[in-house]
């Protein structure tokens, strides 16, 4: 399922780089998830401004590749179910 609109990080979550774990993490009340690199790259771009197409384009440019739309949509669906992102 593809969604239109602009996802942004749920304000109840905080994302930051953790030196000790050498990874991006999502922090929330009494918990933490460690993000893999692609999840982190997608979430960093969820600013409530860019829509999904713009996020995909941005990623494809940054990593000099194409055909990322499927992966991005799949991840955003999971992220939505986990309430990591909310949609505007």
């Amino acid at each position: 399922m593809e969604r239109t609109g602009s996802p942004r990080l749920n304000p109840l979550f905080r994302m930051q780089w953790e030196q000790a774990q050498q990874s991006w993490v999502l922090l929330y009340p009494e918990g933490m998830v460690k993000l893999n690199q692609s999840a982190a790259e997608i979430l960093r771009r969820c600013d409530g401004e860019r829509d999904v197409a713009a996020i995909v384009a941005d990623l494809e440019q940054a990593f000099a590749t194409g055909g990322l739309a499927g992966d991005v949509n799949a991840f955003l669906e999971i992220a939505g179910a986990q309430r990591w992102v909310v949609w505007k």
Partner: protein
């Protein structure tokens, strides 16, 4: 043994002082013997050193952490260092002014404890008149835009009200509700016969919780935890000894878990004498029960040993008399009978005639004086 990873959680128990007197309190029963609190400087140093090691979640608890006048200073420093900051409070002392100061200091989240859905039971269980206050504080938390976790310790005396409790949490606008059955340590262990619910009560409470989950959807998350006495395998206590959690008690003693001080023959370091790095990686107290090397039978040769790490050391000590035994919750433990007897007793209508013991400094001193 492989080198352990860094602690991810710092639990700063700022004080054992508390205006409430909960019958299930997890503070040690002898807390009145450890009242020499670390000062502000001491806590600031702990915050810095633990963050340097890699701790990222920071919980301020107690007792009642609002009783520390320097709470805002500590929260501000924790925030500056990059921790996600959690305040675990009974709500007493959290007024408009301090909420504003905590918000400005960068506090990320407040976990409010509730005792029950009715004024009578709340006030009885906490031995104080705090029911209306909790409602006010819940509103204050929402008004300041914090995510709110309500923590309700469940047990025999309030578990039948679980539907009302969930309804109340929803009205208050909580995002998460922890309906965790009391664990039988410290004061809850003293009061266990009063607190351990019947099998029937548990089944009903779970059914009600599931109905509410359907109704609430994504709006509010419910966590229901059954007492481990009703399980046949123990929990992986603290996610492994010295693995994730670093607890520092009010007097500066560092522990792998807040009840570990009860264990015999083990010295725990104090942050007044030792740096946090040395405490975490090198101290005897933190290394003793790391991994699986310390295990005895049946755990030593058990195929499940990595899964639960033999359960809880404190429970093994309390119920089997030796912290290196299997947690008697496990049905492979030779002492499992102790747990099944307690469960059997709980099925009776009046399991005990002994009075409830409230968590007060007077009771604590009385218990200490007991031979």
């Amino acid at each position: 043994m492989t080198t352990p990873g860094p602690p991810l959680w710092l639990l700063a128990e700022l004080t054992y002082r508390c205006p409430l007197h909960c019958v299930f309190c997890y503070n040690p029963v002898d807390f009145s013997a450890h009242e020499q609190e670390l000062n502000t400087e001491g806590w600031l140093r702990v915050l810095r050193e633990a963050r340097e090691l890699g701790a990222v979640q920071c919980g301020f608890s107690g007792g009642e952490p609002m009783l520390r006048a320097d709470l805002e200073i500590l929260v501000a420093e924790a925030h500056r260092l990059g921790y996600y900051t959690n305040l675990l409070t009974s709500g007493v002392g959290l007024n408009e002014q301090r909420a504003g100061m905590l918000r400005a200091a960068g506090l990320d989240h407040i976990q409010l404890s509730l005792q029950d859905s009715t004024r009578e039971m709340n006030d009885f269980l906490s031995h104080t008149r705090t029911f209306d206050l909790k409602q006010r504080v819940a509103r204050l938390i929402k008004d300041h835009g914090w995510p709110m976790v309500l923590n309700v310790v469940m047990h025999r005396l309030n578990i039948d009200h679980i539907g009302r409790i969930i309804e109340m949490a929803d009205q208050l606008g909580a995002e998460y509700v922890e309906l965790a059955n009391s664990q039988y340590y410290s004061w809850a262990q003293l009061n266990r016969e009063h607190l351990l619910p019947t099998r029937e009560q548990l089944a009903r409470a779970e059914a009600v919780t599931n109905e509410w989950r359907q109704r609430l959807g994504e709006r509010m998350k419910l966590f229901f935890v059954v007492p481990d006495y009703y399980e046949s395998r123990p929990k992986k206590c603290m996610n492994g000894w010295g693995n994730v959690f670093l607890t520092v008690t009010p007097d500066g003693t560092a522990l792998p878990c807040h009840t570990a001080r009860m264990l015999p023959g083990l010295e725990f370091p104090n942050v007044r004498d030792m740096g946090v790095r040395e405490i975490w990686y090198d101290s005897e107290g933190f290394n003793r029960y790391r991994g699986t090397g310390w295990m005895k039978e049946p755990c030593r040769s058990c195929p499940e040993k990595e899964k639960d790490l033999g359960g809880c050391r404190c429970q093994a000590y309390m119920l089997a008399g030796d912290p290196a035994m299997a947690d008697p919750v496990c049905d492979k433990s030779p002492q499992h009978q102790v747990v099944s007897d307690a469960v059997l007793q709980a099925q009776q209508s009046t399991p005990t005639s002994r009075p409830l013991v409230f968590r007060t400094p007077e009771e604590s001193r009385r218990l200490l004086a007991r031979p």
